[in-house]
Symmetry: C2
């Protein structure tokens, strides 16, 4: 398929080509009230201003609902459902198309261009959704296997349930922050010497601060409590994807997590990219995930065999001294279970998901060196340091900035990308302990 | 302290004596919009109507904030802080006191009595808070020990971290429902034969449906992300307590919970009592919890040694045929860690709690037979059935109704009670699997 051409200047290599049209929440110097926008090239199109100035004059379906674009989250727009997301995206693509059938809407409307198009560097991006509940899965099988080998040896690396259900746990919604938010090194309770026979913990600032390279999926369509979502309908309950950095305190995690799972090790902050890429935009990049050699139960069995996405993922680490090193390359295909399977399983007991809920994939690692989605794997639990510029790292140091980049496609004029999610580590507070 | 006497008829033995004044959210036949009320005897005092008719004329502190009583949740009232909760409670006590200094407010105001006082049986009670995040702890040590013995033997019953930190995990907020909401028996993935060598699960309606007798604490004061709450301030961040039934699917739980903790086994529904008892009302019933024989770290060390509450807890099971059996008596004192300790630990990594967040205690069991807070313990994992009327039970059957009752004190004219939290099991849906 040839790239869609636009009358509007979209830089080559932009993640936000006409093929994408991701949604987000922005504010600007002209108005500090957060509202809905789409990213296009290196600009944001303010949909509140666009709607208020007859931008949607040729799309009657959205007209009764235009107030959703003035809201400070995508929840109301998302709740309109996937068919509506699809027509709005297609309409915006057609408005920007070189041969747009609606030239008066924006192409020939310099006043509205000035009012509604803002350079991305000048807009503030906010959390795209009001997130009720956040669930983190663990379906990056290579990561699960590598961690399992470290903790239990190769023979028992994956637990017996791993290939029968998408393993997941409830996470902390309140501490999910948008890309760019600094992350303070937490204090926590951990064993200063885990190998010692006597297990006596301390409370101190943590030493083993890690990132986790993940994807996140936002729910658009709620299901009623008590009513599981059939696997065939699950994808339609999803709005779109973001990149997710599930910051992790490994020293806290290893001390606390038996028997009820990770808690404080994960709840001090999780960062997400701010532009949500719609399920429809990702459709052309569907690929097979990791092969499951067990018999999948009917409530999790998908008709299509391409259910995850070929998203090229990259982790960069920039140190305080300014040198940047790419520490990992991975790909969204390295998942055993798809997001629709995660959603179907999550609701399999009747658990009600709501618009704006976030599902995390779990850490996404490849199989080779240089493809690890977290430092725990890459350094074998801190035993093997690696080089960043002329410094060494096992876990993150204060001042380190971690940036994930994610993009689909290779045609520089038709990329469907996520932009970046970034966060810089601030020194721990002095708590006087 | 002699009981406060009222000009208003408060039945002997009422949980909602003048010493209590719990807060909740109600609607009535006269107005179906949910709003704030307090329970007093067998009536609810509608605080929206009370405020609108100069009920608070002698309490200037609340006057700028009276709009909070028209909201459909307690979040805004709770956010005003504990000193405000205290003066509002004291003022309402004084308005109802036999020798009230404000007789014209309500005692001599038949019109307002008619407008604002509703028999409890005629009001609909709603979820008291909009709950952002829910965390369930595991600090009922007798329960943790009994379960540990079952799964790992007596020598390893408690994990090494158990006495150093309040073990907890993130729960599911969306499926928390008010007392009286029916609970549908869920389907779930589990092993039909856990003892078999080959671990091949099924997806079917679950067999081992259980309740968990817990207390829940609502957060009133938020803390900023990155800033732990010092233990000395933690109690002031709490609004009050409810009873919590953390319904559990034991067959799902045992199959899914390693390594990331309980997930679908717990997310299909949790029931809470609808009247929130303020921290101030509970103050006279403070007692020592379970003695901790380990050295508690400074960030968790409390000045006072009385930090939990003498709350008499009871579990009743009513079968479909109508016979009711008391299956357990327990007490709120059987906790190793207090709610302020749970809150301090939760925020110890800088995790931000928000107004309306709910903390569960974990199952509260005593040490003797007849004091088990869940059926898993009482029946030793289903091996020892017990009698209810002329039927037998191991786990819950369809049509069973579980009711928790909780009350502080013995003076029948000054009880501080929680009322009840109840839920009846509906048959599973036919999903066609
Ligand atoms: Ca994770
Ligand atoms: Ca529980
Ligand atoms: Mg996190
Ligand atoms: Mg529950
Ligand atoms: Ni069935």
């Amino acid at each position: 398929m040839p790239a869609l051409r636009s009358w509007f200047t979209i830089p080559r290599g932009s993640h936000f080509s006409l093929a994408n049209i991701p949604f987000g929440i922005v504010s600007t110097a002209t108005s500090n009230s957060p509202r809905v926008a789409v990213a296009i090239g290196d600009h944001a199109l303010d949909l509140e201003a666009f709607a208020a100035n007859n931008g949607f004059s040729a799309l009657s379906a959205i007209q009764p609902h235009q107030a959703v674009f003035s809201e400070p989250s995508l929840n109301s727009f998302a709740a309109l459902g996937r068919p509506m997301h699809a027509v709005v995206r297609k309409y915006i693509q057609s408005v920007f198309a070189e041969d747009t059938p609606y030239p008066d809407v924006l192409k020939n409307n310099a006043a509205l261009q000035k009012q509604a198009l803002f350079p991305l560097k000048d807009v503030q991006k906010h959390l795209p959704f009001k997130i009720g509940d956040y669930t983190d899965f663990f379906v990056g099988m290579n990561h699960a296997y590598n961690c399992g080998v470290m903790f239990r040896g190769a023979a028992n690396a994956l637990n017996p349930n791993y290939k029968y259900l998408p393993v997941g746990y409830h996470g902390r919604a309140s501490s999910i922050v948008p890309s760019g938010t600094p992350i303070r090194r937490p204090h926590g309770q951990f064993l200063p010497n885990p190998a010692a026979d006597e297990k006596v913990p301390v409370y101190a600032h943590i030493k083993k601060l890690d990132y986790e390279l993940e994807l996140g999926a936002f729910v658009c369509k709620p299901n009623k409590m008590g009513e599981p979502v059939p696997i065939g309908q699950a994808e339609d309950n999803l709005f779109g994807l973001v990149m997710l950095n599930d910051w992790s305190a490994r020293d806290v995690q290893s001390w606390e997590y038996v028997p009820l799972g990770p808690f404080n090790a994960k709840n001090f902050g999780s960062s997400i990219s701010t532009w949500v890429v719609l399920m429809d935009a990702l459709e052309p990049f569907k690929v097979k995930g990791i092969e499951n050699d067990k018999e999948v139960l009917p409530y999790l069995k998908e008709k299509d065999d391409k259910t995850v996405y070929d998203i090229q993922l990259k982790v960069d680490l920039k140190t305080n001294s300014g040198s940047t090193t790419t520490v990992a390359n991975s790909n969204g295909r390295h998942l055993l279970w798809s997001f629709p399977q995660c959603l179907a399983h999550h609701t399999s007991t009747g658990c009600n998901l709501q618009t704006g809920d976030l599902l995390g994939s779990g850490t996404i690692s490849g199989t080779a060196a240089g493809e690890y989605g977290c430092l725990l794997e890459g350094t074998e639990g801190g035993k093997k340091p690696f080089k960043v510029g002329d410094e060494e790292r096992t876990f993150l140091q204060d001042g380190d900035e971690v940036t994930f980049t994610g993009v689909c496609g290779t045609d520089e004029e038709a990329l469907v990308g996520f932009g970046q999610v970034t966060g810089r580590i601030e020194p721990a507070l002095n708590l006087g302990y």
